[in-house]
Every structure is written in C-alpha cells, then in structure tokens.
C-alpha cells in the first residue's frame, strides 16, 4: 500500500532563516506530487505541483521554491523566511482518478 511521509511535524524558525521541508511517497511510481499551505482557519492554497523528476509548476509568486530530486521525493524550501510563511504545510500525491492523498502535515511557525 502507498504511504506518504512528511517531516518535521512541527518547526519554529526565526524570520530570515532558511527552510527545508521534505515529503516522500512509498508504494507508487511516478506520482504527481503537490505542496499546499493552509493558513490558520483558512482553506488550502496550492503552492507547487510536479508531474515528474525536475518538473515543477508554481501556482503563486512567493518566497518559496520546490524541487523534486527523485521520483518519490518532493522538497519545499526557502532561503529567508517571512512571518507570512507561517502555516500548515501539506504534501500530497495523486492517484489514477485524480484523487489526492495527503501527508500528516508540518506546522511551521515563523517568529
């Protein structure tokens, strides 16, 4: 069966520090991968998605970037965090019907 992992689960970082969040998927090949952000009490915002290694589509201009160095690995990064980067970050992969399966999320607090 397929599983998706995200780490860390929680993170507190000062403004201006770098960020690296990692997501890995097991049990499937060549999945589409997605990064979302969920601000407190708000809906989901799609940040990036990838249909293959090295292929990244950005949905909104922002302080973040994404990379896919391996088929089942998706990384979200920032060189300098802003207060507005705080939120709940979710990684997901998509199945054959287009449904997406989500990881447990990373709670990022920028102080």
């Amino acid at each position: 069966s397929q599983t998706i992992h995200q780490w860390p689960a929680t993170l507190v970082q000062p403004v201006g520090s770098p960020l690296s969040l990692e997501c890995t998927v097991e049990g499937t090949s060549n999945p589409n991968l997605y990064w979302y952000r969920q601000a407190a009490g708000r809906g989901l915002q799609l940040l990036f998605y990838s249909v293959g290694i090295g292929q990244i589509s950005s949905e909104v201009p922002q302080n973040l970037s994404a990379s896919r160095p391996q088929d089942r690995q998706f990384i979200l990064s920032s060189k300098k965090l802003l207060l507005s980067d705080s939120g709940f970050y979710l990684c997901a992969w998509s199945g054959q019907g287009g449904e997406q399966y989500f990881g447990p999320g990373t709670r990022l607090t920028v102080t």
Partner: protein
C-alpha cells in the same frame, strides 16, 4: 475557471441528527468530485469520490454523497452524526492535473 463552492462555512448539528454539507461546482465535460475530512492538526483524509457510474457514492464513516449533474451539486450527507464527526470538510473537483478545493465547512456536533 474551475470553481467549487461551499456556501456554509459552519454547520452546527445535534448529535444523532442528520446532516447535509453543500457543495456546488462549475460545470465541465468530465467531472471528478471528492469530499475530504480534516481533523485538527492533521492532513486531509479522502471520504469518498465520484468518478463515474452510480450518482450515489458511499464513503467511509457512514457518509455518502449524491452527484447531481443538472444542479451541478455534490452534497455530502450522513443520517446520524457522532461527536467524532467534528471536523472540517472540503469538497474538491479535479481538472488539469490539479484539484480545486472549496473553502471548507466546519461541522460542529452539539452533545
């Protein structure tokens, strides 16, 4: 543009009462629709999906949804709710390798 509308941001319901969470979507040639549930500080979990076939779709935790093409709706229902159903519920539609999510409905169960 793809859109999914969840008109009710909050729905309070007494325990063991029935509930309906409303979802309307923008019409398109092929429609794949999904309902997700999110418990506090967790990722989204797929409740059910409509890809084709029967318009009544049954999901986990006793939930079901009905695809209505003429009304472009995909409402989620449960005949009797429990305290454990307290969560945020998101409706989503597939298109162009991505999902478009509604803004979510917070279901609160009153003991």
């Amino acid at each position: 543009a793809q859109s999914v509308t969840q008109l009710d941001s909050q729905v309070p319901v007494f325990e063991e009462a029935p509930v309906e969470l409303r979802c309307n979507y923008s019409s398109s040639v092929s429609v794949y629709l999904f309902w997700y549930v999110q418990y506090p500080n967790q990722g989204l979990q797929l409740l059910l999906k409509y890809l084709s076939g029967s318009t009544l779709v049954k999901g986990i935790n006793g939930f079901e949804a009905e695809f209505n093409k003429s009304q472009t709706s995909f409402h989620l229902r449960k005949p009797s709710v429990h305290i454990s159903d307290t969560a945020e519920y998101f409706c989503a539609k597939n298109g162009n390798e991505k999902l478009t999510f509604g803004t979510g409905t917070r279901l609160t169960i009153i003991p």
